[in-house]
């Protein structure tokens, strides 16, 4: 499922040491084209569709598409990441919209420290 970069939204994250999509990809697949100042996927076939790049892009410039071998290209699934939940918007091939909000993180209980207890 190759990630598609929307060139109207991607600005190459000029103020980051490394654009977040480049930073996070578990397969080292996202690259910054320094000339065009846009990110791109160096080998779409190698993508695992984990969607980490999509979730982490600060300008929501990435979206994933399934290989045509597996599915029509007519649907869309976008995550909107908040602090402790993700809201997914799904648009199917008939244009119907569904939304799912899933919790991703519990708040840390009061009084918990930031370092592990010593034995």
């Amino acid at each position: 499922m190759p990630p598609l970069v929307d060139p109207t939204r991607c600005d190459g994250c000029p103020h980051e040491v490394e654009p977040p999509c480049v930073l996070v990809c578990p397969g080292d697949l996202m690259v910054l084209d320094a000339e065009r100042k846009k990110a791109y996927c160096r080998e779409e076939a190698d993508c695992w569709d984990c969607m980490t790049c999509v979730k982490v892009c600060p300008r929501q410039a990435l979206r994933t598409r399934l290989s045509y071998q597996l599915a029509d290209v007519s649907a869309d699934l976008r995550p909107e990441v908040a602090g402790d939940h993700i809201t997914w918007t799904l648009v199917d091939c008939r244009g119907r919209v569904e939304r799912f909000t899933v919790r991703t993180l519990n708040p840390e209980p009061e009084g918990s420290s930031n370092s592990p207890p010593r034995e």
């Binding site: 397969g27 080292d28 569709d49 995550p79």
Partner: protein, 586 residues
């Protein structure tokens, strides 16, 4: 090549499920001054097999005792062999580790009475989209020194002891030389040695992480560790095309497996009923699927139209937490999973140690130390102990760390052999060097082979001769001998031509090198175990029956660097929990 020298007490290789919890535990028992270093080839917060998340933890004692869990794990692999000692040690602590991770922020679903929402006997449901960041934070909290984007190429051994590791920086191109008093190898399992179901630009749409390329197994093997269980190939049933997990449907929603005639063959065919019907051991359920397909009663499905309707409505929500591609697939292909059964398929084989399979390094005792002193393993890298999954791997990492810290207190800091380090540096960068020389030289002796080409040749050989999908996973001596010959040819005669154009491709080159090492393990183990113990996983057409007289034991191997051959051997099954190994206790 510019070098980076790192000295540390405990080196953790692979910042994944087991590795991150190992770091946390090492700090807890080792104190604030313990040097803990993690080498991670990607970015620790999002790397490895947890990258997309998960929606369940598949090892948790909702009821029963650790002994009951062991009965289940050995039953699920057709009576074993399994390392009951390792499984007991994990089962004793896994619930506590899960509670710890809940306190650290992992949302675990609850029943109305406040208990964890169980999925079947041994699983709990979670909202796990952020599983990896939460796991990685444990390593960060431990104050471990984390090196991201460092690809380790080999472990170092001196006087029979593992003394560190070397590798290259994926971004900076430097050569990293790490010496350590103890090393914990937690670099995951192996996908991609067989040709995948989907071709071309969908070739990485597989179940297991395609970036887990067998480094644990290859490096342990190359260091001379005794290895185990590589004949127990994991061939899971997953959703067709997108290869997403099906436990959500089967156990979570009670959707039964059916064939194209709508028959629930697990409970209607007496052969499968005898094995336990819907709760037959995992390999048997795979075997049933293989038989239904071979006998032309496919396609097969998880029948979500007969599942619990309340749960079926939540299917999409369950799947965005770990396989959003499946949700997109349904939407794009106009499939409503609540109104039509979900088609399933097998894939792989994958080579793993913490799932319902048991490949990995052999550890003689519970301390997780391999047969090479100072080298410990946990998670998928540890062999002989199936069904630990994520929560079991967290726990395993913690246990291994305790032993590793205890061990390193008794050993001196090693002095590395500079000649060996130089040799390793050459080896690490060889594909890059070759490519540069070939492009710079005026004569072109033999064109370099790119990693993608070698990977495709390897996958084709394994598929056609070592029981891949085109042979519907069947194996036999004749084909395996051909596989052995062809894979050995690649390893002995062709790897010297492997080239890489840049640092990313150098990773791919090492992925192929490591996968080829795993291929050798798989072929030799399959040849040695002359029986069919796990129908579905390893069907030997020439030895279709189980042979307890000869093979009711672990099959192990040790690699000889001089001859590049494996010496095969057996290790006995030690039963600690009494009872019939072919039956669950609860």
């Amino acid at each position: 090549m510019e070098r980076v020298y790192i000295d540390t007490d405990l080196l953790i290789m692979g910042g994944g499920t087991a590795g991150c919890l190992a770091a946390w535990e090492a700090r807890r028992v080792g104190g604030p001054n313990l040097g803990i270093t993690i080498l991670e080839k990607a970015y620790i917060r999002h790397s490895g097999s947890l990258a997309a998340g998960q929606n369940a933890l598949n090892m948790y004692l909702n009821q029963g005792t650790p002994e009951d869990f062991v009965c289940y794990a050995r039953y699920d692999l057709c009576g074993g062999p399994v390392r009951e000692d390792i499984l007991l040690s994990v089962a004793r602590e896994v619930n506590e580790t899960v509670a710890l991770m809940e306190r650290e922020g992992l949302p675990i679903k609850k029943r109305p009475d406040g208990r964890y929402l169980n999925r079947g006997k041994w699983n709990v449901e979670i909202n796990g989209a952020m599983l990896k960041p939460i796991t990685a934070r444990m390593a960060e909290k431990a104050g471990a020194e984390i090196y991201n984007r460092v690809y380790v190429t080999n472990l170092l051994k001196q006087q029979g002891r593992c003394v560190g590791a070397v590798g290259f920086g994926v971004r900076d191109g430097r050569f990293y030389v790490v010496r350590a008093r103890a090393v914990l190898l937690t670099a995951g399992g192996c996908a991609g040695i067989y040709r995948p179901n989907n071709a071309g630009d969908a070739h990485h749409r597989i179940w297991y992480a395609p970036f887990n390329t067998g480094a644990s197994y290859a490096m342990a093997k190359r260091l001379g560790c005794k290895m185990v269980g590589f004949e127990c190939r994991f061939i899971p049933i997953r959703t067709k095309d997108t290869v997403a997990p099906t436990g959500t449907l089967a156990i979570g929603m009670g959707a039964p497996m059916i064939n194209a005639l709508g028959k629930q063959f697990m409970k209607e065919n007496p052969k499968w009923v005898e094995w336990g019907g819907h709760s037959a051991p995992t390999p048997i359920r795979v075997q049933a699927f293989l038989v239904e397909t071979a006998e032309h009663r496919g396609p097969c499905y998880m029948d979500t139209t007969r599942g619990d309707p309340g749960r079926v409505a939540e299917i999409k929500e369950q799947y965005v937490d770990m396989s959003p591609s499946l949700v997109l697939y349904w939407a794009a292909n106009d499939i409503d999973p609540s109104k039509e059964p979900v088609e399933i398929d097998v894939s792989g084989p994958y080579i793993v140690g913490a799932h319902a399979a048991m490949a990995g390094a052999w550890v003689p005792k519970e301390d997780r130390m391999t047969t090479v002193a100072g080298l410990f393993v946990a998670g998928d890298a540890l062999g002989g102990a199936p069904s630990r999954f994520i929560s079991g791997s967290w726990t395993d990492g913690r246990i291994a760390a305790r032993y590793a810290v205890e061990y390193l207190r008794g050993v001196e800091f090693p002095e590395l052999d500079p000649d060996e380090v130089r040799r390793q540096e050459e080896i690490a960068f060889a594909p890059l060097t070759r490519h540069r020389q070939a492009t710079e030289s005026k004569s072109v002796p033999q064109p370099g082979i790119r990693p993608r080409e070698m990977e495709e040749r390897m996958q084709k050989i394994m598929d056609e001769y070592a029981g891949g999908r085109t042979r519907w996973y069947w194996i036999d001596e004749t084909h395996l001998q051909i596989a052995r010959k062809k894979i050995n040819h690649l390893r002995r005669n062709q790897l010297q031509y492997l080239v890489a154009e840049d640092l990313h491709e150098l990773q791919l080159a090492w992925d192929v090198i490591n996968r080829l090492d795993v291929c050798q393990l798989v072929i030799e183990h399959l040849l040695y175990r002359r029986e069919t113990r796990w129908p579905g996983y390893a069907n030997r057409s020439d030895c279709p029956e189980r042979n307890d007289a000869e093979f009711d034991c672990f099959v192990c191997s040790v690699w000889d660097p001089e001859t590049d051959e494996l010496t095969m051997m057996k290790e006995p099954y030690v039963q600690l929990v009494p009872g019939d190994r072919m039956k669950q206790s609860i």
